[in-house]
Amino acid sequence: MLKIIARRVLVAIPTLVLVTLIVFGLQKILPGDPLLTLAGEERDPQVLAYLREKYRLDDPFHMQYLAWLGNVLTGDFGNSLRTGVPVSTLIAQKLPVTLQLAVMAIIMAMLIGIPAGIISAVRKGTTTDYAANAVALSGMSIPNFWLGIILIMVVSVQWRLLPASGYVPLTENPIQSLRTMLMPSFVLATALAAYLMRHTRSAMLGVLTSDYIRTARAKGLLPKTVILKHALRNALMPIVTLSTLLFGELLAGAVLTEQVFTIPGFGKLIVDAVFTRDYAVVQGVVLCTAVGFIFMNLVADVLYILINPRLRHPQ
C-alpha cells in the first residue's frame, strides 16, 4: 500500500511542473499588460519602468518561470501585484473558506444523492423513480448563478432567513458561519447530488440484478438487509471514487457560486487575479489547487483499495 502511494506521489511531480508551466505560458499569451492593468488611470512611465524591472516582466519567459519556480521551492510564492499581500498569506486566508464550502457541499450532495439513487433503483420504473430522475435532471441543468440569485431573493430578501452573502469564519462564530454557507453549499450540492444520484442508481441497478443478490433474496433475508448490506457495499465503489474526484474539483473553487454569494474563496481569488493579470496569485493558487486535486485522486485510489479487498494484493 505504502509503495503504491509513494509511486503515485512521485508520478505527481512532473504533472505539477507541467501544470504550472502551462498556466505560466497561458498567462503570457493572454493579451493585456499586467502593469498597464495595475496602473489603471495612473500611467506614470517612470513608475511603470521601475515596476517592470522590479517584477522582472521584461525577462525572457524561461527566466521568469525558473525564477518563480526557484522561489516556490524555497517556500516563497511571491506577492500579489495588486495588493502587495504575500500569495502564501492569501492562500492561507482562502483555503479554509474553500475547504468549508467544499466539505459542506459534498456532504449535502451525498446525503441527497445517494439515498435518492438507492430509492430510485429499488423502485425502478415507478413514479418515484421518474420523479427522482426529473429532479436530478433539473439539478444538473439549472445554472448555479441563477439558482443562487433566486435563493438570495427568496430566502434572504423575502423571508429574511439567512444572510444574503459573505463569509464568517468558523472560528469566529460557528453558527453564523454555517448559516452563511448554507445557501452556497446547497447551490453547489444540487448539481453534484444529481450526478451522485444518477451514478448510484445505475450502479445499484447493475448490482441488484446480479446472482448473489438473487441468492441473498432466496435465502429469505429482509429486503432492507439485501439492499443496504449486500448490494450497496458493492455499488458504493464507483460512488466513492466519484465523490472524491468531485471534491477535488470543488477545491479549485466554485467560481460562479463564490461570485454570486461573495464568498472570498479560491474561485473568486483566481478570477479576480486573472482579470487584473496578477500573475503570482494565479500561479500560486493554481499550484495549490493542482496539489489538492492530485491528492484527492490519490485518496480516491486508496479508498478504492480499502473498499475492494480484491485490489489489495495486486498480482
Binding site: G32, D33, P163, P264
Partner: protein
C-alpha cells in the same frame, strides 16, 4: 410596580442596544488595491481613504477647496511658493504627533518613493520644508494650478512617518476619523473609530465595514436583506425599482468623470481610416449619436449627457459649447461632403452589460446616418493594451475624473500626454493647456480652456457622451448622507436612526 419594572427593564435593554458597538456596512463594487495612498491606483480605494486617512485639504460639493489638516494656505506673489498652516491638535493612529515635520515627510515620500504614483502629480514641487511646528512651505519649479487639487486627494494624504518603514499597504497608519483594523482580500476591510480625532464627536459609528460585492444585483439584495447599510454604484437598470422602494433611499450625483468615444487619429496603422483621418467624419459621428437617448434608454435618467470633459459642477464647464443634438440629415451631409456614402469602423469597449447596451445603441443610431460599426466587446485589460499600442480604430472608454480641469484633459490630448491613446497632437492645444496648467487664477484660466476646447470640439479626438453618475443607495434609517461629485463617502454627521 410591575409596569415600572418592565419599563425600566425595557429602557435598560434599549440603552444597551444603543451603546453597543454600532457597525456601518458599505457595499463596494470592487475590492480596493494596496492601501498605501502613495502607491494606490483605484477609485474604490479612495472610498476607504476618506474615512481612514486625513489629507491637507478637501473639496466641497461645489469643488471648492476647504480646510482639513491645513487650516490655511497661501501663494507667494509669483505663485512659486505654497505655504500651509497645519492644525496643532492632531495625532496619528499610532499616537505620534501630526505636525508640520510629519506633513513634510509625507510629501517627500510621495514625490521620491520609486513606485510612488503621486510623483507625477507633484512633479512641479522642488522642495518641501517645515519652517516651524505648524508651517510647511512647498517650493515649485514653476507655477502649478493643479497642485491644490492634487493635495486634496491622495498626494495630500498623511501617514504616520513612524510607519514608513513598515508594510504600509497592508497596515496603513493614518490620522483619519477611523483607523485600520483588518482586511481580508475580496471579503472585507474593517475600520474602527479613532477617539483622538479632533472631530470624533461628528462620526457616529464605532466600526466601518467595507465589503466588496461586485455583482450589482447581489449588492442590492444584501442591502434589501439588511446585511448592508449602504452601497455605491448602483446599476442604472435598478434605479427605477430602488426609487419606488420606501425602505431605501436613492442619492445620486453627476461625477467628475465622463464616458466617451476615443478615436485613433494617428493616421497610421489602424488609425488610417476615414474616421481617424477626417474630422468631418468624426463630426458626423457626433451628430449621429443622441446623448439624451442613451441617457433615457440605458441610463434611466442617470447618464447626464456630456459635451465637455469637465463635470457640470466645474466652473470650467463652459456655456459656449452646448450639447450637440442628434441630427441624422446633417450627419449624412457631412459624410457626403467628405466623399463617403457609408463609413465602417471598429468600436471596442470593455465587456459588461451596461457598456454593451450603450454601444449597441450607438451602433444603431450611427447606422441611420451612414456608419457601419462593428462592435468589439473586449476584456478590459486587453483593450487597454491595444489602445496604448495604437492597435484600435475607436474605443468607448471612460475616465473617473479629477477635481482640477487639467486632470480631465491635459494627458489625453497633448502630444506627449501619457493617456493620449488618440495619438492626437496639435501645438496650439498643447500651448493653451500648458499655459492653463501654470495659471492658478480661475478667471484667467477659464478662457484658456475655452480656446483649447474650441479646437478640440472641431477636431474631436474624443467624443464625450455622458457624465458618469455616482448612484448611492442607503437603507431608509441612514440619516445625513450627502453625495459629492467626487463620489467619496464623507461620513461626518451621518448616523443610523433607531
Amino acid at each position: 410596580m410591575r409596569l415600572l419594572l418592565s419599563s425600566l427593564l425595557a429602557t435598560t435593554l434599549l440603552a444597551t442596544v444603543g451603546a453597543s458597538a454600532q457597525d456601518f456596512r458599505i457595499g463596494l463594487q470592487e475590492d480596493p488595491d494596496v492601501l498605501d495612498p502613495h502607491k494606490s491606483r483605484t477609485f474604490v480605494g479612495r472610498l476607504v481613504y476618506t474615512s481612514l486617512c486625513d489629507k491637507l485639504i478637501d473639496v466641497d460639493a461645489a469643488l471648492e477647496f476647504v480646510p482639513r489638516v491645513a487650516t490655511d494656505w497661501s501663494w507667494n506673489d509669483d505663485n512659486t511658493q505654497l505655504t500651509f498652516t497645519i492644525r496643532d491638535d492632531m495625532v496619528f493612529h499610532d499616537g505620534e504627533k501630526l505636525d508640520a515635520a510629519a506633513v513634510a515627510a509625507n510629501l517627500e515620500r510621495a514625490r521620491t518613493l520609486p513606485d510612488s504614483l503621486r510623483k507625477s502629480e507633484l512633479a512641479s514641487v522642488t522642495g518641501v520644508e517645515a519652517t516651524d511646528d505648524t508651517t510647511v512651505v512647498l517650493t515649485l519649479a514653476q507655477p502649478d494650478a493643479t497642485l491644490l487639487a492634487q493635495l486634496s486627494d491622495r498626494a495630500g494624504m498623511l501617514l504616520s512617518p513612524a510607519s514608513f518603514e513598515t508594510d504600509v499597504g497592508t497596515n496603513p497608519v493614518c490620522s483619519g476619523p477611523y483607523k485600520f483594523v483588518s482586511r481580508v482580500q475580496n471579503d472585507r476591510i474593517i475600520l474602527e473609530k479613532f477617539a483622538d480625532h479632533p472631530e470624533a464627536d461628528d462620526y457616529h459609528f464605532d466600526r466601518l465595514v467595507f465589503q466588496p460585492i461586485p455583482d450589482s444585483t447581489v449588492r442590492l439584495a444584501n442591502l434589501r436583506a439588511g446585511d448592508l447599510d449602504m452601497l455605491e454604484r448602483l446599476n442604472p437598470s435598478d434605479a427605477a425599482t430602488v426609487r419606488d422602494d420606501a425602505a431605501l433611499q436613492f442619492v445620486t450625483v453627476a461625477g467628475l468623470g465622463y464616458q466617451g468615444i476615443t478615436i485613433n487619429t494617428s493616421g497610421e496603422g489602424k488609425g488610417d481610416n476615414p474616421l481617424g483621418t477626417d474630422k468631418r467624419v468624426r463630426q458626423a459621428l457626433q451628430l449621429a449619436i443622441g446623448r439624451d437617448i442613451i441617457n433615457e434608454v440605458v441610463g434611466n435618467g442617470l447618464f447626464e449627457p456630456a459635451q465637455q470633459p469637465f463635470p457640470p459642477a466645474s466652473p470650467y464647464n463652459s456655456e459656449k459649447f452646448p450639447l450637440v443634438a442628434r441630427d441624422v440629415e446633417a450627419a449624412k451631409a457631412l459624410l457626403a461632403e467628405a466623399g463617403h456614402e457609408r463609413v465602417s469602423f471598429e468600436l471596442a469597449f470593455g465587456n459588461n452589460t451596461t457598456a454593451s447596451a450603450i454601444n449597441e445603441l450607438i451602433q444603431a443610431m450611427a447606422s441611420e446616418a451612414g456608419f457601419d460599426i462593428s462592435l468589439q466587446p473586449t476584456e478590459f485589460a486587453a483593450m487597454q493594451q491595444e489602445m496604448q499600442a495604437g492597435n484600435y480604430q475607436a474605443a468607448q472608454i471612460g475616465w473617473s475624473g479629477r477635481v482640477d480641469p487639467d486632470g480631465n484633459l491635459h494627458g489625453f490630448v497633448t502630444c506627449e500626454g501619457t493617456l493620449n491613446d488618440s495619438n492626437y497632437c496639435n501645438e496650439e492645444v498643447d500651448r493653451l493647456l500648458n499655459e492653463a496648467r501654470q495659471t492658478p487664477d480661475t478667471q484667467a484660466r477659464i478662457p484658456l480652456y475655452e480656446q483649447a476646447q474650441a479646437i478640440l470640439m472641431d477636431e474631436l479626438p474624443i467624443i464625450y457622451v455622458y457624465h458618469q453618475p455616482w448612484p448611492f443607495v442607503l437603507s431608509s434609517n441612514v440619516e445625513g448622507f450627502e453625495a459629492y461629485p467626487d463620489g467619496m463617502l464623507r461620513l461626518k454627521g451621518v448616523s443610523l436612526a433607531d
